[in-house]
């Protein structure tokens, strides 16, 4: 029933034989200029991959120092001022320079045009610009770190950030401000591309769920990011001119900053997790070899999450003196956002049911994601409950909660996605054995790091302190031990993925027997993605389980 009119007649074998001389987006030119001035979305994705990986390890370096300090109850490795800078820089680097751009700017950039059968994004030069803007923002923030750092916490709460902190607040804020434009431009580009560049026959409900997730993400980027830009602008203004916008001594309202900040930064959490959900939808269906369960429910739940995400910011401010009625409404709405998230988890689980499940490395990450995201999501409900939140607010419970979402969710999906599409991006296979081993190490290390923090938080250990009572030491040592395992788990893929660039096996066009347009073009794809604009005549995820691959996609 399913047909793909554009698949070339000579089958995979022939395709693999003349892989070498074929021109693709990598070997089309080798100069530095051809990379730095490229407008090819695939090359820009690789540029992002390099930038994001760099900032990930910078952020990780700060995390190492934090965990080392917390081995002992006393503050022996660094002083509290230094510690404040460490967790601030860790948060800023990871949130603004790793988590937010990671999946959209790398995988999204690479895959969205190919998945929808386009030659490029709608605005290729804007895409290149957004990479430069991102890197400039990153350099500013990194410079601020080198020049003495910043100690406000990644949340820049006023009036501390606007009046009292003696660290590089303006420079750091400028970095975040600048990188915000990169996020806006990427979102804008994706929205226009998904609306206007789809191949003939590719209707909205034939789109891969990855595209739906990125569409929802882009909506948040476009609607939310300008608000934090405005908030940071006001903080900078306040710091430079002392107008009093956020300083209660001068008649200002520091809580206004929290409203503006979380109006963006709560939806930003969904900028981080929605693309991850998109990746998981692809991985689960491919490795179950089964049509995704409840396509339209997963698609619309992405949009629902994007919409509701704008209505829940007040749950960060239950203890900020917000009115109890506002708190109740925000609490209710926060529960509501769990519904579309749960729909996704149920649908993924139902997709596994009676599928032909195989356990390659990307699938291991996807299964890890399912468990960890569920734990992270359910503890989110604890935090959305007004009374419980008062108990665990600003404790390690919340640290553990959002790391389960951000690290257990986003990074698991990011690594799963990188592995899954690595053959497509580079034309090389990664070593499967090492990859499975690394996935296991990451999973174990992650849980050992962050599960004890749930307990710590529930017992009352506050976040952002480097000195703590002796009875918390055992759990903290466990957490630090887990962090070192987790660190190894991140280094192994870094090594073997780089190794595979030279020594990995050559990848065929479709090493996973997956559906989707990106697997119908060679690996790595040519610059123009497709020899000829594809015409789509099949629904998404036409997998047929329990039948050998090759019979489902007929060639016309």
């Amino acid at each position: 029933m399913a047909t793909a009119v554009f698949t070339p007649k000579p089958h995979q074998l022939a395709d693999e034989e003349d892989q070498r001389p074929r021109k693709n987006y990598i070997n089309v030119a080798f100069t530095a200029k051809s990379w730095l001035l490229t407008v090819d979305h695939k090359r820009i994705a690789i540029l992002y991959l390099i930038g994001v990986t760099l900032f990930f390890f910078v952020g990780g370096f700060f995390a190492v120092l934090i965990r080392l300090e917390l081995i002992t109850p006393a503050g022996d490795l660094m002083q509290s001022e230094t510690y404040n800078k460490m967790f601030t820089m860790h948060g800023i680097m990871m949130v603004f320079f790793f988590l937010i751009p990671s999946i959209p700017a790398i995988l999204g950039n690479f895959l969205i045009p190919i998945m929808i059968g386009a030659r490029d994004l709608a605005f290729p030069r804007l895409n290149l610009l957004s990479w430069y803007v991102y890197m400039i923002g990153g350099v500013f923030t990194f410079a601020a770190a080198l020049l003495g750092g910043v100690d406000t916490g990644w949340t820049f709460y006023t009036p501390y950030s606007s009046t009292y902190s003696n660290t590089n607040v303006v420079l750091t804020a400028l970095g975040v401000f600048i990188t915000g434009f990169s996020s806006i431009l990427t979102g804008l580009n994706f929205i226009v591309t998904i609306h206007k560049m789809r191949a003939p026959g590719l209707t909205w409900f034939r789109l891969p769920l990855f595209i739906w997730a990125h569409y929802a993400t882009s909506l948040i980027q476009v609607l939310g990011t300008p608000v934090i830009t405005a908030a940071i602008f006001l903080v900078a203004l306040e710091r430079i001119f002392h107008i009093g916008i956020f300083d209660p001594k001068l008649g200002g309202d520091p809580i206004l900053f929290q409203h503006l900040f979380w109006f963006y930064s709560h939806p930003a959490v969904y900028i981080m997790i929605l693309p991850a959900m998109g990746v998981i939808s692809e991985l689960i269906t491919c490795f179950s070899k089964k049509k995704v369960f409840g396509y339209s429910f997963i698609a619309f739940s992405s949009i629902a999450i994007a919409v509701i995400s704008f209505l829940v910011w007040g749950h960060h401010m239950f203890t900020s003196g917000q009115s109890i009625y506002a708190g109740m409404v925000f609490s209710f709405l926060s529960f509501l956002v769990a519904v579309p998230s749960a729909i996704k988890v149920f649908n993924w689980t139902a997709t596994l049911y009676k599928g032909s499940v195989s356990y390659q490395a990307p699938m291991l990450y996807a299964i890890g994601f399912l468990g960890l995201f569920t734990i992270g999501g359910l503890t989110g409900l604890f935090l959305a409950t007004l009374a419980v939140d008062v108990h665990v607010h600003d404790t390690y419970f919340i640290i553990a909660h959002f790391h389960y979402i951000m690290v257990g969710g986003t990074i698991m999906a990011y690594l799963g996605g990188i592995h899954f599409w690595w053959p497509k991006m580079t034309g090389r296979l990664y070593p499967e054995g090492w990859a499975r081993f690394a996935a296991l190490v990451v999973f174990v290390g992650f849980n050992l790091t962050f599960f004890p923090q749930f307990v710590l938080g529930y017992l009352g250990m506050p976040r952002r302190y480097h000195v703590y009572p002796d009875e918390f030491q055992v759990l903290n040592v466990m957490s630090t031990a887990g962090a070192s395992i987790l660190g190894v788990g991140y280094l192994i893929p870094l090594i073997y993925l780089i190794w595979s660039l030279r020594y990995g096996q050559l990848a065929s066009a479709n090493p996973w027997n997956a559906t989707g347009l990106e697997w119908k073009t060679p690996s790595p794809p040519p610059t123009e993605n497709f020899a000829k604009t594809p015409i789509v005549t099949e629904e998404a995820y036409e997998y047929t389980p329990l039948r050998p691959q090759g019979q489902e996609a007929e060639v016309v």
Partner: protein
């Protein structure tokens, strides 16, 4: 927002000129939505402090010269008219009138900025700029809250002026390109899109003018 090669009617990633036109237009609308959210954050801040300190804001607002503001409003509305006429000229392929209307739009936009510059200079002389030198004569009843008002006044009108300057620079580029005959009845998207931007910047001012200048005048 315009992505094109100078001699091709549409860029390589598009199938045809229509697709490019639709994509560019949607891109600009999306960009304007981000702008609305950005100014929205500032308007929210302004409105909150205005409702917290209504007397101080009314008093501070009365120090603004509403006549200059009204003149500027009229100038901007006229510039929107010339902008629309420029778009129309571009659609009809009338190169000469396109150039004329673009230049008129630039002149009106610049007139707005010059006027604004005089207003700013006046505020400097009267010590109405927030900071250590704030202190108009005669003294205000609520000097601290008045600084909040002028903080918002300068940042919001300043950002608006920045958008005007960017718009004028782009229009100037298009004037040169229009003279060289870059635009035709088939290809006028850049003019159409800068028109959207220009009207948006006008509308921001339409909100700024009553909020900043007229709140004390009932």
């Amino acid at each position: 927002m315009s992505e094109q090669h100078s001699n091709a009617a549409f860029a390589h990633q598009f199938e045809d000129a229509d697709q490019q036109f639709e994509a560019s237009t949607l891109g600009m609308w999306t960009f304007l939505i981000t702008e609305i959210m950005f100014f929205g954050g500032l308007f929210l801040g302004y409105i909150i402090y205005r409702s917290l300190y209504p007397e101080a804001f009314a008093e501070a607002s009365s120090l603004l010269n509403y006549r200059l503001g009204a003149i500027n409003t009229a100038v901007l509305i006229c510039s929107s008219l010339t902008m629309v006429l420029a778009v129309r000229a571009a659609q009809l392929g009338q190169r000469r009138s396109l150039v004329v209307f673009l230049v008129l739009t630039i002149i009106l936009g610049s007139a707005f900025l010059v006027n604004k510059g005089f207003e700013y200079a006046h505020k400097f002389h009267e010590h109405l700029v927030p900071g250590p030198n704030f202190g108009p004569e005669p003294a205000l009843a609520h000097p601290q809250q008045a600084q909040l008002f002028f903080g918002f006044y300068f940042s919001m009108t300043g950002l608006h002026a920045l958008h005007m300057i960017i718009g004028i620079v782009i229009l100037a580029v298009f004037v040169v390109q229009a003279q060289r005959g870059r635009f035709s009845t088939e290809y006028f998207a850049p003019i159409d899109i800068i028109g959207l931007y220009w009207h948006f910047v006008d509308i921001v001012w339409i909100f700024l003018f009553p909020l900043l200048y007229l709140i004390s005048r009932t």
